[in-house]
């Protein structure tokens, strides 16, 4: 797909500067590229010194890498943001209602709106938490909704990340860095602040403490410092002023969870865990996990500790369930979806499968259980060999895949070697749920740094940008 067909965040489809970028563009016109390049190098230094690095699995280039940071912001105006914010909040409310339903009455399955098999036989469905009542009925306390834009008015939701979405630390550090590098830009226009995110997160977590606990102790649980998102875990713990624990720091005794401290055991009430269901309790799930806490599930079941996100949310970010989010919105909220879903082909259905196999060159094929851009075929950019390989994979395990049309992701001006050029972007706003569901203005904009590339995942060489929401 040629880049010039794509909608550009700054210029739309023509050459006129869009409203949101007017002030920025004036500044850009007066600013030599050399200054941007210089600032870009400065940003690299800042990130490296702060240790904002991530690890790449299966890469030889050394364990730690910087995510490329781009100094040109992605800018949304107040009207655009209102739509997006309304849309993602609506989705998360529906998803929480869905999870509460399928782990209790299962009305939506009884009504036939979602095929029961798709839920009940899904590996991400956790019968272990059936009938368990959660504080405020909240399952997904933190969600990251991946959105792409294809025109001025059209936004699509690509994925609802409801397990352990990451990237929020980059959202916060990107802003911090931009304010340090370009203070003048922030003086000339009103960019909505985002730095209250950690406090809002803490408030959400404290609001879902176990019944009867007046002043809950919150911790962040990490798989450890070799995890690719370790920086973020540490960052959030520090920003919230809570302990960062590993599985080995916690133990279960007398139906409670405790952490080992220098002064002896201390009770833990809410665990913001950044570790998948599979690894959280070797007694209940993966017995080989060294990362979890033996017996944790039983304490959860007795309501003496809260997990965020709750066990079993994976079913809601399953790529096969994704198709039904509009139905959830209708079923639970009685509302019309504000944001669209990408049309999705179910490869388990013969008709869909035949169509997809005939049109592999035009489609994106994703593994249902995959994440981070691994196990994905982008038709227009693929080789015949890759298509052949995917055809065989699909035929072997049809239900493990879905396919979607290749969307013409919007582009955003980006600093590259030859100056400023358009690069494809997406957006991940972070939605928090406690007493209510809220979203901080903006999110993480990911950018595919290679010309023409549509893959924005950091594990695949994607970079990030600061995301500005202009206040009305």
């Amino acid at each position: 797909m040629a880049l010039n067909e794509a909608f550009d965040e700054m210029r739309g489809l023509g050459e006129t500067i869009r409203e949101a970028y007017r002030s920025y563009n004036e500044w850009l016109d007066e600013t030599p590229i050399s200054r941007l390049t210089e600032r870009h190098q400065q940003a690299d230094l800042i990130f490296r010194r702060l240790g904002i690095t991530f690890s790449v699995y299966g890469s030889d280039e050394g364990v730690e890498r910087l995510i490329p940071f781009d100094v040109v912001p992605r800018i949304l105006d107040a009207g655009e943001w209102d739509t997006l914010a309304g849309g993602v909040i609506q989705r998360v409310r529906a998803i929480n209602a869905f999870l509460n339903d399928i782990y209790h009455e299962q009305n939506i399955l009884k009504s036939g709106r979602i095929p029961a098999d798709l839920v009940l036989h899904n590996p991400a469905f956790r019968p272990e938490v059936l009938g368990l009542d959660l504080p405020r009925n909240v399952y997904v306390h933190v969600a990251g909704i991946d959105i792409v834009r294809v025109s001025a008015e059209e936004f699509y939701v690509l994925e609802d990340n409801a397990r352990v979405p990451s990237g929020v630390s980059y959202m916060l550090e990107n802003r911090e860095t931009m304010m340090r590098l370009f203070p003048d830009l922030f003086g000339s226009q009103s960019v909505a602040p985002i730095n209250h995110y950690p406090q809002t997160l803490l408030r959400s977590l404290r609001s879902v403490g176990p019944r009867g606990v007046y002043d809950p102790t919150v911790v962040v649980m990490t798989p450890g410092h070799f995890n690719s998102a370790y920086f973020e875990h540490a960052f959030l713990a520090q920003q919230m002023g809570v302990e960062l624990v590993e599985g080995s720091d916690l133990f279960v005794e007398n139906d409670g969870v405790y952490m080992r401290t220098t002064e002896g055991p201390r009770r833990v009430d809410v665990i913001y865990r950044r570790i998948d269901d599979d690894f959280i309790d070797p007694l209940a799930f993966d017995a080989n996990s060294m990362l979890g806490v033996p017996g944790l599930l039983s304490v959860v079941r007795n309501g003496h500790v809260s997990l965020a996100n709750a066990i079993g949310t994976g079913i809601a970010d399953d790529k096969a369930i994704y198709c039904y989010v509009p139905d959830m919105i209708d079923f639970y909220l009685g509302e019309k979806p504000i944001l669209k879903n990408v049309p999705t082909y179910q490869l388990g259905e013969e008709e869909d499968r035949n169509y997809v196999l005939d049109h592999l060159e035009e489609l994106v094929v994703k593994e249902v259980a995959g994440s981070g851009g691994y196990g994905m075929l982008i038709g227009p950019a693929s080789t015949a060999d890759q298509r052949f390989e995917f055809r065989n994979k699909i035929l072997a395990h049809p239900t493990s895949f879905i396919a979607q049309p290749t969307l013409s992701l919007s582009t955003c001006p980006t600093l590259v070697d030859g100056g400023i050029a358009p690069r494809h972007v997406d957006l991940r706003p972070f939605v928090l749920t406690g007493e209510s569901t809220t979203v901080v203005p903006g999110g993480l904009t990911r950018v595919a740094m290679r010309e023409g590339s549509l893959v924005v995942n950091s594990s695949q060489g994607g970079g990030t940008k600061d995301t500005w929401v202009l206040e009305a």
Partner: protein
């Protein structure tokens, strides 16, 4: 504070201190090696750092012969040698990284920066820059680390365990270096010190930043016995065993006075206070230092047990 966190902070400080002390030892031997040597002891001195923190198997395979350049490369920049400066700094940084939420930005950034810069130094760069410059730089980074701890950290447990780590490690290093010095340098016996030994004892004092202090305290020519007294028993010398033990005791009493490690520290402290240098030399300094090192190790184990550092 989590036991694991206390463990991380403690080892972070130990490794920084270890890196600094290795730089001090290497600088001192390098300094000695520039002096004329009559008895062929010049090369023998270079075995000291290897015996302290070298990996003999890796060294023999990779470098073969003992030479100043080989020992310096192995002890400063060889990442496969767990006792090298770069390995210590890497361990310090890994521990800091695991517990960065409990450190101030200044402490974390300082230690991270040190590691990143050190990673960029090759042997040829170290030669270009000059060995002494390199050792000075390592020392400066360690000073910066302690300064950042002292100047920015809340007087809470992270501060306490970091200080504990610094002084437990320093006590161990001082005892070991002094023991090696006593073994390799002439102690004069009944006669007087040879001129070259006089310079070597001067270089050893410099390794402890104690050259000027010696002059102030004793105002005479350097005698091995006085050097030992200065580095073992003087409470006012910040790198002496007595001073390190006192610092450890202050920290332990502030944390938990009734812990078993506190009782051991009190014991060690008391016995140092009662000791006189003549008595120590009568039983033999190396034996004495050996006993001290063992007690210090015991203290380390008990700190781990009492504060749940060991899981």
């Amino acid at each position: 504070m989590l036991g694991r966190t206390a463990n991380n902070v403690y080892w972070m400080a130990r490794y920084v201190e270890r890196a600094e002390n290795m730089a001090r030892l290497l600088a001192s031997i390098y300094h000695m090696s520039l002096l004329p040597a009559s008895n062929g002891s010049a090369l023998r001195q270079w075995e000291a750092p290897l015996s302290l923190g070298g990996n003999r198997a890796v060294f023999d395979e990779r470098y073969g012969v003992i030479s100043p350049g080989n020992v310096l490369a192995h002890m400063a920049l060889d990442g496969d040698n767990p006792g090298s400066i770069i390995s210590s700094v890497r361990e310090a940084r890994e521990n800091a990284r695991e517990t960065r939420t409990n450190l101030t930005t200044e402490v974390w950034e300082g230690i991270n920066q040190t590691y990143l810069e050190l990673e960029g130094i090759s042997y040829s760069k170290m030669v270009d820059q000059g060995f002494q410059e390199f050792f000075e730089w390592v020392k400066e980074r360690s000073h910066l680390f302690r300064g950042a701890i002292y100047g920015t950290m809340r007087r809470g447990e992270a501060f306490t365990f970091s200080r504990l780590g610094t002084f437990v490690e320093r006590a161990d290093n001082t005892a070991r270096f002094l023991s090696i010095g006593w073994d390799t340098l002439g102690t004069g016996g009944k006669g007087s010190l040879a001129a070259e030994d006089y310079y070597r004892w001067g270089a050893l004092l410099r390794a402890f930043s104690a050259f000027k202090a010696y002059r102030e305290v004793y105002s005479g020519i350097i005698e091995p016995k006085r050097v030992a007294e200065l580095l073992v028993l003087r409470e006012d010398m910040p790198r002496s065993l007595q001073a390190c033990t006192s610092e450890v005791l202050v920290m332990l009493r502030a944390t938990r006075g009734d812990a078993s490690c506190t009782r051991v520290a009190e014991d060690v402290h008391r016995s140092l206070q009662r000791s006189r240098i003549d008595g120590i030399l009568r039983t033999g300094l190396p034996q004495f230092l050996n006993g001290y090192i063992n007690r210090n190790n015991e203290l380390n184990t008990l700190i781990g047990r009492d504060f749940m550092l060991v899981l």
